[in-house]
Symmetry: C2
Subunit: 277 residues, 2 copies
């Protein structure tokens, strides 16, 4: 295991036990069995450690969720498969979820905030897509409410998976929640979350965050990457965000250039979503 990896793992442990602010670099190095100096050979600052951790752990989690969400589900067992995958991933990533989704400091970090918003949008879209597949005609009025209920189910039951040590039958859990979702979808008559409410809530997201943060994300990536072709690709993609110039084929090529570098694979992932390619 690389030194960076060791530090991140032990830091994750400590953050999970005490929180970020309460954990000193000293404590991290002690648990790793290395000196303070060695820490600063791997990471320039404590902040860089956090950003790397977000990139490493949360990116993994979100990409996993992304896969699970898109999975080629059988029509009738759509919801069961979805819930089962989601909870298995919550279990697999339980420590990082516990650390990153609970602490204020992390939520004020741009990188994390952006990733969480990506994750939220992703999940919401997947749920809406599934609901539209299952109930193509009669769910226009209530689909957002059903989606919120699904989020509620996941939140509450995920706590069991993440925080308790009791071994749980996730297959059974998934079936149970799929039934509940179906029941809600079929019987709800008085929805609360309307189309317009969703738009009001989503408004500040899409535009403001995406534009600003994407550019900053790219700039950071440019600063950290060595490969000159990847750097140039990032530069061109940055310009693309401000003024549309290239067609989809060129964009796709540029993204391919940067996707292979671990330092910019996340940027590629996000930009692919942004440009819809």
């Amino acid at each position: 295991m690389s030194k960076k990896q060791l530090i991140m793992d032990k830091a994750l442990e400590l953050f999970s036990e005490q929180g970020y602010e309460a954990t000193s670099v000293q404590q991290i190095t002690e648990r790793c069995g290395i000196s303070k100096g060695a820490f600063y050979l791997s990471f320039k600052t404590k902040d860089e450690l956090v950003v790397s951790m977000i990139d490493y752990y949360l990116q993994q989690f979100i990409m996993d969720i992304d896969q699970a969400v898109k999975g080629p589900y059988q029509h009738e067992s759509l919801l069961v498969e979805f819930y089962k995958n989601i909870f298995e991933l919550f279990k697999k990533h339980s420590i990082s979820v516990r650390v990153f989704f609970n602490e204020k400091v992390f939520l004020s970090k741009q990188e994390l905030f952006y990733k969480i918003s990506v994750y939220e949008v992703e999940m919401s879209q997947a749920m809406l897509y599934m609901l539209e597949q299952l109930y193509p005609n009669n769910l226009q009025e209530t689909k957002y409410d059903v989606m919120y209920c699904m989020k509620g189910f996941i939140k509450t039951y995920a706590e069991l998976v993440i925080f308790s040590n009791i071994p749980l039958d996730l297959e059974h859990l998934a079936k149970s929640l799929a039934e509940k979702t179906r029941i809600i979808a079929e019987h709800t008559t008085t929805p609360f979350i309307t189309e317009s409410l969703v738009q009001i809530m989503a408004a500040p997201y899409e535009q403001e965050i995406a534009q600003n943060t994407l550019v900053q994300l790219i700039e950071q990536s440019i600063a950290s990457i060595e490969d000159s072709i990847a750097r140039e690709s990032l530069q061109l993609l940055k310009e693309q965000i401000e003024t549309t110039t290239y067609n989809r084929a060129i964009l796709k090529g540029l993204l391919a250039n940067i996707r292979q570098h671990p330092e910019s694979s996340w940027v590629a992932y996000v930009l692919a979503k942004y440009f819809h390619v």
Copy 2:
């Protein structure tokens, strides 16, 4: 407004903005317009401030919830009234909820952890009680699942109330969630949360926490209270926890002795629950 009150209010503001660890005593005193020394006239340590804040803000919130939960609801509109009251309280106490329920540092504080567990048990019991009233016969198998769904609804929709600035029609929200609860209760056939699962999860709570923490809670109260009768009452109640000696009448009297003092009213509240008087 007393100086203590001023400090607690401004500290709550700052904690809500930056988090606990990131907020220094200096910052608090600056926002209050007082000197650092003046702070330490009101609170011995920064930690004592936090404990006082938990006592003050969270106690208020939980006692409010307690009232709302017990409220004399009309039979048919039981759930609607319940949801409406809950969300109104979440809105009223939104800042303190945001501060205390989100940060790791607070959750590792005994006082807070105990209060949260009291709040959880309280809520669960109220929900189960309501469900048993509404469906006296046919909900034995699924009542815990329905309760978990209610928790999920509250968690998800409470986020809207607490974190968004959009004005919401809480009456409408309550009706919508009451309908969803009714639907789930009437149609669920495959529950996940069983009686035995609940018992396993509740096990470490009741005994371990209650015993230990209650004694510590009482000891703290004894140390902070002046009135000699109240002190003696607390001492007797402490002994009662370890070995049962007195009957309900005596216990009730002892609790009455300490209930009137603001420093020990919370202890009285908790002990009354513990002794079932």
